[in-house]
């Protein structure tokens, strides 16, 4: 168990900036998920922590000790790779024992530790097999076992589930979370899958183009995204964005699509008429006979219990709604209501979240409403 501190880490590859200064403090036993689209620099960051890449600037501290210049083997870190990277010519036992052997762990202790870890992962029967005789899920477990048996200060996971099929991925996801809780090892987990990120992480780092756009708990990232990128990236189907302007007084927004919606969580400290982006999640829109938003239905995707309805607003903007119950037919006009407490308001120029000014009482009210919505 250890703490990890990343201080101002930057990475340049021959002139292109891959990481623009990342700061992160990971507490003991915490599982941090770094999530982002491919090419956002998340794997590079992980590899810098591992010592497989060198940072162009900044420091990595493990338990307060600067390891920036240390070789991977001197950092006491274990890593699980996307394609598992098992040694193909070694048995499962040897794969797991290799790191211990190099560290000169006595034979008896080594065998005992490997066996214990194998039992923990349900690999006890497979110790003499070669990796190619294992299924994808079993290989994944061996890769995990190889990391666990070392009892390192830090686990690094580099998209460990993306080579598994969907069903196994869900099962392994839960298993990883349970194991990490049980072992209490500080972990960094890289993924591009936002569901994995939400379900696994104690906190998320949402990365975009080499920057950490938001570092927060999954629920906070979901309910109070820091900017339009995070808002659009986290949540499926993605949040709808509508352009709007701030009504005089800053207490309401006027959507380009028509209606003016009051901002019940406080006045926005922006000039009158400031251009805004208003976000609302598809699941928060309500189909209502008198709703002010007139959606021309274009496509309906039934998901069983619910349907996704895609359509176009009079302003020409696209909008997606998640409806339970009966769904409209393509071509119909669907009146929608956007509940004021579910709106996310962003400054259209910077993309940053614009929070309401308290009015303390109102802010609390809004938070509890948001919480209720989230709990649902």
């Amino acid at each position: 168990m250890a703490t990890l501190t990343i201080e101002g880490v930057r990475k340049d590859f021959s002139g292109t900036h891959v990481l623009h200064g990342i700061d992160l403090a990971v507490a003991e036993g915490e599982l941090i998920v770094i999530v982002g689209a491919s090419g956002c620099g998340k794997s590079t960051l992980l590899r810098i922590v591992a010592g497989l890449e060198t940072a162009s600037a900044g420091r990595i501290l493990i338990d307060g000790a600067d390891v920036t210049r240390l070789e991977p083997k001197d950092r006491d870190i274990a890593m699980v790779f996307q394609n598992y990277a098992l040694y193909p010519h070694m048995s499962v036992f040897d794969n797991m024992a290799y790191g211990l052997r190099i560290r000169g762990v006595p034979k008896a202790e080594l065998a005992q530790r490997v066996r214990q870890t194998a039992d923990l992962l349900g690999l006890g029967e497979l110790l003499s097999r070669r990796p190619r005789q294992l299924s994808g899920g079993q290989r994944q477990r061996v890769a995990m076992g190889r990391a666990i048996v070392r009892e390192p200060k830090l686990f690094l996971f580099d998209e460990p589930l993306s080579n598994l099929d969907a069903k196994l991925r869900v099962a392994m996801r839960a298993e990883i979370k349970r194991l990490q809780r049980r072992l209490g090892v500080t972990s960094l987990y890289v993924t591009h899958d936002q569901v994995e990120a939400m379900t696994l992480g104690d906190r998320l780092v949402v990365m975009h183009q080499g920057r950490a756009e938001q570092v927060a708990t999954p629920m906070e990232v979901w309910s109070r995204p820091a900017n339009t990128f995070v808002a659009g990236f986290i949540g499926a189907p993605a949040m709808n964005f509508l352009s709007a302007t701030l009504a005089p007084g800053g207490e309401a927004v006027t959507l380009k699509a028509g209606p003016t919606i009051p901002l019940i969580d406080g006045r926005r400290p922006l000039p009158d008429g400031a251009p805004l982006t208003v976000g609302i999640r598809p699941e928060h829109l309500v189909a209502n006979g008198e709703g002010p938003l007139q959606l021309k239905v274009d496509l309906v995707e039934p998901l069983g219990a619910e349907s996704l309805v895609h359509g176009i607003l009079p302003s020409g903007e696209e909008l997606t709604v998640r409806l339970s119950g009966s769904s409209p037919l393509p071509g119909a006009i669907l009146p929608l209501f956007a509940p004021p407490m579910m709106l996310h308001v962003f400054d259209a120029e910077t993309g940053r979240r614009a929070d309401g000014l308290p009015s303390q009482r109102r802010a609390e009210g809004a938070a509890s409403v948001a919480k209720q919505a989230a709990d649902r």
Binding site: A50, G51, L52, E71, P72, K73, I77, A78, M79, F81, Q82, N83, A85, L86, Y87, P88, H89, Y98, G99, I102, R103, R132, R146, R150
Partner: protein, 300 residues
């Protein structure tokens, strides 16, 4: 419902089937004929040598080409093995065989060791001049041995290595082909495997020993076969560098056994030739097993 099948249609179908059978049979006949011709072309000279080595000197001197075994087989082989050709070299074949064997083995091991390590350096390390080193090795591929044989001879003779094993072997050890082959194989080892070993704490030598070598066994077996045969069959370089019988190889020995027409113990020459054939054949057959085993076991 089906229409009733007419007898004519049945007969027609029957004819078609028979025609197809005939065509297949004829096709098989032609392919076999060609194959048998090919085998005969390759095997006949060897058969003649094999049969010739079992007759006495007189038979061959008369200009006969015996195609059936004679009675002198054992005697011929024993003479060749123990004494060699009485008329020409007078050196026993056993000594030449040993020389050839030592040379071929050392060349093979030398080549594999040098090319494994140099390919390892070129693929897994980043150092200034890496590509230069690679290209220099690569370019020597295009130079046939004969081109550099005189400078090489000069170097070896200046070092006083003429008529020594070292002089015979060392210049043949450098191998661009094997280096390239190992390089290509190393490039297929996934980066993540290298990184996993780094995370496990393996240094470069440890990684080489524990991961690269075991994964390369198939390639090494293949190279062993090729290089052993290459070393065994060396002709030009041993011809230059061996002037006495001490380190003479069997390939050179056979040539030296050939005196003038009347002066040659043809039956001994043929027995020697057959013996010279055996080790490469044995290596191919023995290593083939390893080879297949390696192919089956290590999957990448």
């Amino acid at each position: 419902m089906h229409a009733p099948v007419s007898a004519a249609a049945l007969a027609e179908a029957d004819r078609a089937i028979r025609a197809a059978d005939r065509a297949r049979r004829n096709g098989a006949l032609v392919t076999h004929a060609i194959l048998i011709l090919g085998v005969a072309l390759f095997a006949l000279p060897i058969w003649i040598v094999l049969m010739g080595s079992t007759h006495d000197a007189a038979t061959i001197s008369r200009g006969e080409v015996p195609l059936l075994p004679g009675a002198e087989g054992l005697a011929n082989y024993l003479t060749a093995w123990g004494e060699g050709s009485a008329k020409t070299t007078r050196a026993p074949v056993s000594a030449m065989m040993l020389n050839s064997f030592v040379m071929a083995l050392l060349i093979t091991f030398g080549k594999i060791a040098i090319s494994l390590t140099s390919a390892y350096a070129v693929v897994f390390f980043r150092f200034p001049g890496r590509m230069l080193a690679f290209w220099s090795i690569f370019i020597t591929l295009m130079l046939p041995v004969e081109v550099r044989i005189f400078p090489t001879f000069k170097v070896v003779s200046d070092l006083g290595l003429v008529n020594t094993y070292a002089g015979l072997i060392v210049p043949l050890i450098a191998s661009a082909t094997a280096t390239l082959l190992f390089r290509q194989f190393f490039l297929t080892i996934p980066d993540e495997l290298v990184e996993a070993a780094k995370m496990d704490g393996a240094g470069p030598m440890r990684f080489f020993k524990d991961v690269v070598l075991p994964l390369s066994t198939t390639n090494m077996a293949a190279l062993f076969v090729i290089m052993f045969v290459y070393g065994w069959n060396q002709y030009l370089w041993p011809l230059l560098i061996t002037t006495t019988g001490d380190v003479e190889t069997i390939v050179i020995g056979i040539v030296r056994m050939l005196g003038s027409e009347a002066d040659t113990d043809w039956h001994i020459v043929m027995a020697t030739t057959v013996m010279a054939l055996l080790p490469p054949v044995a290596v191919v057959i023995l290593m083939q097993r390893w080879f297949v085993k390696g192919l089956v076991e290590s999957e990448k």
